[in-house]
């Protein structure tokens, strides 16, 4: 799908709002929109244009059981947290599905990292998006006893959000802090702060300072299992 041609972008945004895109194309479009504010703006313009059709629609009050069902699934906070955790774990369990993509990406990554000027370092994990596209690399720098997190091709994120890295150990996500999205920057994490029994890494979208709860509050966008030596 061509996201660059201005006319096509607008038409595509219109079709997105209209709802005529196939589920796969719509999902791709939503991913593109997440990192492209001007695409999001086109969608907003179309949503506002078509909303005029709804101005004569008579409201219909839903039965109270609808709110009760929603409330049961969204509160209280303690229930919500276990819910979010379970959901996230289900997502992380999907790791095997992208393993093949990760293996393919790893070949490329190893070439890139061995060509770099830094000390030889071991790739600990490659974090990919839902389509298996690699987005982040976690390397171990044994000499400095750190983990280094690099973005593969640079990410964009608006001022209201930040990427936060998590390690999954004992079925629980542990926060490792906010990681920079720019391609010329990387995060360095003391190896001692990462549990030895970590099985996977993940990156979620959080408020600027990171999750306020100590557990992911936004969508988990990238994931990758820990690769063995």
């Amino acid at each position: 799908m061509n996201y660059l041609d201005p006319e096509k972008r607008s038409i595509l945004a219109g079709e997105y709002v209209l709802g005529t895109l196939t589920p796969a194309v719509r999902a791709n479009f939503e991913r593109a929109m997440r990192f492209d504010a001007s695409l999001a703006r086109l969608v907003g313009e179309w949503a506002d244009r078509f909303a005029a059709i709804d101005t004569t629609l008579q409201p219909v009050k839903p039965p109270t059981r609808v709110w009760r069902a929603i409330a049961a699934r969204t509160t209280p906070p303690t229930v919500k947290r276990t819910g979010a955790l379970r959901e996230s774990l289900a997502f992380w369990r999907g790791l095997t599905a992208v393993a093949a993509g990760v293996a393919a990406a790893l070949v490329l990554v190893l070439v890139v990292t061995t060509l770099g000027p830094q000390m030889p370092s071991r790739v600990v994990a490659v974090l990919s998006d839902k389509d298996g596209q690699p987005a982040w690399i976690v390397r171990e720098d044994k000499a400095r006893a750190t983990l280094v997190v690099d973005t593969v091709h640079g990410q964009t994120v608006d001022a209201q959000h930040a990427f936060e890295l998590w390690v999954i150990a004992d079925k629980t996500p542990r926060p490792l802090g906010v990681i920079p999205a720019r391609i010329d920057s990387h995060a360095t994490i003391p190896a001692a702060s990462v549990p030895k029994d970590g099985v996977a890494f993940a990156v979620s979208l959080e408020p600027p300072g990171g999750s306020p709860t100590g557990l992911p509050t936004g969508p988990v966008l990238y994931q990758g299992r820990v690769l063995n030596d």
């Binding site: 709802g19 504010a37 969608v43 949503a47 506002d48 005029a52 059709i53 409201p59 709110w67």
Partner: protein, 186 residues
Amino acid sequence: MVVATGSMDRVSSDLMQRIGRKDQSAFRELYNATSAHLFAIALRIVRQRDLAEDVLQESFVSIWDRALDYDPVRGSVMNWLVTIVRHRAIDTLRRLNVRPEGASSGDEALAFMASSSDTATDRGADRRALDRCLGELDELPRQVVVYAYAFGYTHEELAARFKTPLGTIKSWIRRSLDRLKHCLDG
């Protein structure tokens, strides 16, 4: 419409921030202000109340989880919610693989089309502008766009309903969107 007033939009943008911080009372406020309009939109697409109730429930659970994704650049809160509900409703029909027969959808569509061409003054400037620009489209492409928006018809359903090849339906939609955009912006 009772909810999409200017003041509701200002409140809503702030509400989304609070919902993003998991403020349950803000969430309830949003539900109270928008659910009747959103339920009507879901009903118009899925036609059956039990399906529409599921659509509304799933949509609001997703809104609770995704509130921080809302960005004012995406248009008003209300219209962001409408897009979520419409997509959820369209997905429901895709999964069922059959469009439930509801109360006289054809009649309502015809009534809607008819109402598009009258010049009632109580519809607001946005509606009048859209009506005018829809009116500049040819008859069939206009109906295709309205069916897609109002009833969530897929390309395939539109092709069957209007007895027109799929490729023609797609190009009608693209051309209509282009013309609508220029008409409404111009």
